[in-house]
Amino acid sequence: MEKTVLVIGGAFQDKLTAALAFSHLTMDDVGENPYENKKIINNFQNYFKNNMNDEGLLEKCRGKIIIADEVGCGIIPLEKSDRTYREALGRFLCDLAAISDTVIRVTCGIPTFIKGE
């Protein structure tokens, strides 16, 4: 069984670079849709935004390296749809972290292993 990895951090923190270094994979292995046959899923938050009600999504993330922006560390958005997305992504990533073998947090391009190795 391939390992499940979550790479989390703010926008523009070089999470993809960190994920490639960690996995020894290349850009050929990078997609943006968990239903694609790619090991690394980049910008997961964008896919999630349009597919929040897909109950099979968590299982689809299993065995992959999911890269997602941290979106919960700001002022609560004025638009209800933004609030719903922000909250749902946070909860989803808590669930994904729970089933992940490794969780890497990236700040300024520096990876910190907050779960597993």
């Binding site: 989390i8 919960g72 700001g74 922000r86 749902a88 808590c94 994904l96 972290a97 779960k115």
Partner: protein, 167 residues
């Protein structure tokens, strides 16, 4: 023991803070600072009530001016959350000394009990520019968080449900 728990929206900080609070023996007061407002607020409160169900917490609704009397008769306190408390001081009470009143009040309360778990919000990382009123709120909450972290024995940041001990 004073523990401060900080995290973003949907980070799992409440669940982690509750897990610390249930580990303490003796009576625990849950101080709820969020005024029920609108449908979303009601839903949020309901979700948190369900999470706390069966954990033996007594809920005290105290929206502002927490002090040593707030949790008298309790051994432990779980305070959730400071971001609402600061907002209530500024916007409801029109309190000109929000920072001092919030921090001093919480400190007095921590001395009236054995253990305190304080939940606060990380709202400082969206890089957006806001109007003066919002910026003032962000600045005040930031200062309150720093002062609470300074008086706390332990500080945890919660990221995707994972607690990271930073003090």
């Amino acid at each position: 023991m004073v523990t401060l728990v900080i995290g973003g929206g949907g980070s799992g900080k409440s669940a982690f803070a509750e897990s610390i609070a249930v580990s303490y023996s003796g009576k625990t007061a849950y101080i709820a600072t969020m005024e029920p407002y609108g449908e979303e607020g009601a839903k949020r409160i309901e979700r948190h009530r369900k999470m706390r169900l069966g954990k033996g917490f007594d809920t005290i609704e105290q929206y502002s001016f927490i002090n040593e009397k707030t949790a008298a008769n309790y051994e432990n306190v779980l305070l959730e959350c400071v971001s609402n408390l600061v907002a209530n001081h500024i916007f409801t009470e029109n309190d000109k000394n929000t920072i001092e009143n919030v921090v001093d009040g919480i400190e007095k309360m921590t001395k009236s009990v054995k253990n305190t778990v304080i939940v606060t919000n990380d709202i400082f990382n969206d890089g957006c520019d806001y109007d003066d009123i919002t910026r003032d709120y962000i600045a005040k909450l930031g200062t309150v968080n720093c002062r609470l972290a300074s008086l706390a024995d332990e500080v945890f940041e919660v990221v995707v449900g994972i607690p990271i001990k930073i003090k």
